[in-house]
Amino acid sequence: MNPDRLPSRPPARRRPPVLRLGPVALPVGPRSLLWCALTLAAVAGAAVATLALGDLGISPARIPAVVAGAGEGTEAFVFDRLRGPRLAVALGAGAALGLSGALFQSVTRNPLGSPDVIGLGAGAGAGAAFVALVLPGTVPVPLGALAGAFLAMLVVYTATGTGLRHPGRLIVAGIGVAAMAQAFTHFVVSVMARDQAGVLSAYINGSLNARSWEHAAIVWAAVSAAVPLLLYLSGPVAVNEMGDELADALGAAAGRTRTLAVVLSVLLSAAAVAVAGPIAFVALTAPQIARRLSGAPGPNLALSALVGALLLVAADLAVQHLPIGEGLPVGIFTLAFGGVYLGYLLVREWRKGVL
């Protein structure tokens, strides 16, 4: 690591305030808190818009009542069957992806890292394709996607020979597994009947169409279960960013932290994939945005989760209401948006001469 890049602090500066929860201590910067609050407000705004816009929209004044279960007729139907589950899944999957990407990028020290890079999304696609082609109707497609994602991770894990500790090996093995999975998916899509292939193709891009409350329950359960682990990991992970040797010297066991963080990151991504299909770029961009907003070192977990949720809800809103997005899977929108954002990031950093 370049010593010039290490954050240098004037000695007189006050230490940031620390949040203590039993054995866990987290530094909390005022700027991070401010941005967390702003992002949370934006998420709430996007959520209200999701429920309120369009022909079947619930009027904003009625939303608290409807959410509390006092809705009538159309309102209740729209909330319970159409938009409520969709919104809940978008929020949960977005938060899961944001957390997943933040953990992965932090421990691999690679700003382009996310579980997608090591073949999770491609494996999920291949699993979905396999189930749709070989066992049509007997096994739900999301289950196939989940199995595919885990199989891909298992192959990556075995192929590296050293588990999940070495980021370089992880990413190369991921490229190989992703290519294989993608070839299989393309093959299945090319031999299937056209209509089936179209449905499968939409799912593989990541879609929030026709979600139910069960989907929302799955992803929210995963996110809630991850919270204690995240609290436990956030300290060691932040130390890890300073380099393996320093982390080991401080007693943070760099290898073990990385393995745990990657496993947790993969599980969170898999939960999102199971309910929404492989959605591109949210896991990649959310931590990047969070890092720039907060200006703080470390994985910025809370802010990344909020930004992830905001991105996915906003993208879904766009897909539902923009004339060009109509009926398309939300994953295509995040892919385009993510690509443009990545391009903007590059140009900006070139101007500054950082990259």
């Binding site: 290519a179 193709s201 899977p329 690509g339």
Partner: protein, 338 residues
């Protein structure tokens, strides 16, 4: 790095031996490609058919295999050489011709053409895919190389951006128009089947230009392998080598992709084989990759034709499933600080 530290020093005897073996392997692969298929033939029958002495049926069978064999030779050579150039220029063993967005560009052009004009023949697709692939590759290069200090990270990221945006466009068009989706899903697998001589001929000038440019820069790549500073110190023009190498790689990859669709892994895996067999001298690597690429692609195509008879696996599926395990094996041998 082996004990030799100066890559420029060629060993003619070994180079000749390796090239001879590569040539023999290619000849064997060509023969295999003519012999194997849905209706197996013997080498003798193939000879008779080519010499004009076989029955009409056998002659037809063998002749039907000639265009795809020629296609395999051209596409395999182009992809392998493109990969060798990309890895040489970027000095990154994971560089791949698709890195600059060539595949996504070709796909976007094919989808646009189908959307505007309706389903077209493979031969007509080429005239869309070729400019699309070239434009995407050059756009990524133009964006990624601004500033000109040779930042390869920029280039790779620019390629990723171009690919992401174009892929989103392709998916959006394909999913909203069923008839476009229908032809796109066949194209995207990558296959040598159904490509006549007209397809080969239409991409041949582009590929030939790429090969010629590659032959011009291969000496410069040796200097580049020493590292930027050492290369400049030896008096090499690194900017010219990099630019010409990347342009040649784009031409080659665009030509192959336009003709055969995106074929995975040939461009990534062949340079590794070439380096292991022919050494680090690019003046040996370039000609050798022109032999190894076609050999591998033809063998993959033969596998695809024979393992699931009577149907066929497209060659793009076979190369991915053969190439990935190779990559996974390479991963285990990667050195990394513990």
């Amino acid at each position: 790095m082996k004990t030799r530290t100066v890559p420029g020093r060629a060993r003619p005897a070994r180079a000749a031996l390796v090239l001879g073996a590569g040539g023999a392997a290619l000849a064997g692969a060509v023969l295999l490609s003519l012999v194997a298929g849905g209706r197996p033939t013997t080498p003798l029958e193939v000879w008779q058919a080519l010499a004009g002495g076989a029955d009409a049926y056998t002659t037809t069978v063998v002749e039907s295999r000639i265009p795809r064999t020629v296609m395999g030779i051209v596409a395999g050579a182009a992809l392998a050489l493109a990969g060798t150039l990309m890895q040489g220029v970027t000095r990154n063993p994971l560089a791949d011709p698709g890195l600059l967005g060539v595949n996504a560009g070709a796909a976007a052009a094919v989808v646009t053409a189908t959307a505007l004009l309706g389903p077209t023949s493979v031969a007509a697709t080429v005239w869309w895919a070729l400019p699309g692939a070239l434009a995407a590759g050059l756009a990524a290069y133009a964006v990624g190389s601004r500033g000109g200090d040779g930042g390869m990270v920029r280039l790779i990221l620019a390629g990723a951006v171009v690919s992401a945006v174009l892929t989103a466009y392709v998916q959006a068009v394909a999913l909203s128009m069923p008839e476009v989706f229908d032809s796109y899903r066949y194209w995207v697998v990558g296959s040598l089947a159904g490509r006549g001589y007209d397809v080969v001929l239409s991409v041949l000038p582009v590929i030939a230009a790429g090969v010629a440019l590659a032959l011009l820069v291969m000496g410069g790549l040796n200097a580049l392998a020493l590292g930027e500073e050492a290369a400049v110190a030896t008096g090499a023009n690194t900017t010219w080598t990099r630019t010409a190498g990347l342009v040649a790689a784009t031409l080659l990859a665009a030509g192959a992709t336009a003709a055969a669709g995106p074929i995975a892994f040939v461009g990534l895996a062949v340079p590794h084989i070439v380096r292991a067999l022919a050494g680090v001298d690019f003046r040996a690597q370039v000609p050798f990759s022109l032999l190894v690429g076609p050999t591998l692609l033809l063998v993959a195509d033969v596998l695809g034709r024979t393992v699931v008879r009577p149907t066929e696996l497209m060659v793009g599926v076979v190369t991915a499933f053969v190439g990935s395990p190779v990559l996974l094996y390479v991963v285990r041998r990667m050195r990394e600080a513990p």
